[in-house]
Amino acid sequence: MSLFLLGDSNAHTLVKVAAEQGWPVYGGHIAPGRFLNAAGFFTVDDGDVRFHRPESEVKYRAALAGAGAARLADIAMPVLCLFGMNLHYQARAEVWDGFAIAPDEPGRFLSAATVQATLRAQIAGAIAFHGHLAALGLRVFSALPPRRCAAPPISTRRDVLLRAEDVAAEEIAAAGTRFIDHRPWSLDPDGELKPEFASQADSVHGSDAFCHRLLEDVFAAVRAG
């Protein structure tokens, strides 16, 4: 069973691990996640999509060619799509600094409705993309990123990150994508990412072990139908 990966920066390690294991994963990194969120980053085009960012379009065409497809609708294998899952960026300080999202915290309080609407809007383009994949009849899977807070200058707000996880999971599921939840095994009892699943190279991405385990979960879900 093969897998077609449409990924953000987390795709790099997923592809590397898959290659090391000899797992049949096609596609890979299309763009940094921040280019795969906002409304209008792609256009629907006759069973296919076109990315407005030229670099992304080039990578996407190469991914299709690697999978032996001329357009997205011709992809015969399940798709792992990570668009909308750069949650460390959705919870960045630039947007959320000065706000409180829990009633007992200092700061200008935002209701749950405001927080959800904001997060939904931030990934609206990605969710539309997931919806388009479903409309093409593709079997689509997705997963949250490893729970990590980016260092400055992005400076992820952890409390917002946790809300973003819920919103993203709900939104992609509503769009028709099957959500693979790694949190039961990737987090410790305090809700922190276990150290072995964090990349040592930066403050955002997962380790080889994380990607290995996640791909195992995805393939298991694919096999289970």
Partner: protein, 345 residues
């Protein structure tokens, strides 16, 4: 010789109004004090007050928004959740008493009531029922949100040079025990009306004057020198609980508000801007009203705001008000919810 002989043409109806095209009647207003792009302008009040905030921003003036939404919240959600409409997220307030309540809470002169409504397991804020249409997830959340808004009102006042307040109604609903006044009747957005607990209240002229006096006095204590510009929402009432015909009730309501605004505008720090006259006076033949004869059309808003900015020496917008014309009551207006209770014709 008589006193009228030396008066200008604007003092005579025939020369100032009847013999002129309606859009050339004027100037209707001359500001008492200079207002320019550096003047920090805040706006609160009824539905029409939102137009001031929007126009002020659009024209590049300095609008005080002390409770902004996250930068990435889309405009449709901002409007649905009560952001960007006023200088804090307090939703519509229709009477001077409702403004006074907010000012007293913000200044610490009165304690903030712990009073909320519920519906279907959600908590609603009775003093700003429209800002969270689906209610808050919990009492704690509603309380925290109100606390933030009160702090935002205080912050707004601390940096405001000119406060625009649009008076809307004289009818209101109150909690009998505390006297807390709501912008909408219990049971409309949430909770249910309980005659033993809730009371209808019609503000009479003397009360409106007292409340406006208290508002202006408090503002001068909080920020000496702050200017206040009063306007009156020109739209008729959507519904009246007075027992009168709604047209008669509207006329009485607006007459009281107009009289009170005129009286307050005699104070040096207060001025009156005649948007009400522009919309409702005979030469305009109701041309600024939307088909529902209640909301002011985008064209009408544009003309009114052009008058405001024109008096400040700015050019008119070339095509005011090209937006959609409402066929039913303005959905951003809390009072609009009452329309759903009208019997079918």
């Amino acid at each position: 010789m008589n006193p009228y002989e030396s008066l200008p043409a604007t003092a005579f109806w025939r020369t100032a109004v009847a013999s002129r095209p309606p859009l050339e009647v004027g100037p209707l207003w001359q500001p008492k004090w200079p207002i320019d792009r550096d003047t920090r302008i805040a706006a609160f009040g009824s539905c029409f007050a939102r137009n001031f905030g929007r126009a002020v921003r659009t024209r590049g003036f300095t609008f005080v928004d002390a409770e902004p939404a996250p930068a990435t919240l889309p405009e449709a959600d901002r409007r649905r959740l009560g952001y960007d409409l006023f200088s804090a997220r307090i939703g519509n307030i229709y009477t001077p008493r409702q403004l006074l309540q907010w000012l007293q809470w913000a200044s610490g002169e009165r304690p903030v009531p712990d009073h909320f409504w519920t519906r279907d397991g959600r908590t609603h804020d009775p003093v700003r029922p429209g800002v969270e249409p689906d209610g808050f997830a919990s009492h704690a959340e509603a309380e925290a949100s109100r606390r933030t808004t009160i702090a935002s009102v205080a912050q707004a006042l601390a940096q405001t040079d000119l406060l625009v307040f649009t008076l809307g109604l004289t009818e209101a609903w109150r909690d009998r025990a505390s006297g807390l006044e709501y912008p909408i009747a219990p049971g409309v957005f949430a909770d249910s009306f309980d005659p033993a607990r809730d009371a209808f209240h019609e503000h009479r002229l003397a009360e409106v004057l007292d409340d406006l006096t208290a508002v202006l006095d408090l503002l001068q204590r909080l920020r000496p020198g702050m200017k206040i510009l009063l306007t009156i929402a020109p739209g008729p009432m959507i519904a009246t609980a007075s027992g009168q015909h709604v047209l008669v009730a509207t006329s009485g309501c607006k007459a009281i508000l107009r009289a009170a605004a005129g009286e307050m505008a005699r104070r040096p720090e207060c001025d009156y801007f005649p948007s009400y006259e522009m919309a409702t006076s005979p030469p305009y033949r109701a041309m600024f009203f939307a088909p529902n004869l209640r909301d002011i059309s985008a064209f009408g808003v544009g003309v009114v705001m052009n008058t405001f900015f024109g008096a400040l020496g700015l050019d008119a917008e070339t095509a005011p008000g090209t937006g959609p014309q409402p066929a039913t009551a303005d959905p951003e207006c809390d009072e609009a919810e009452l329309e759903t209770f009208a019997p079918q014709p």
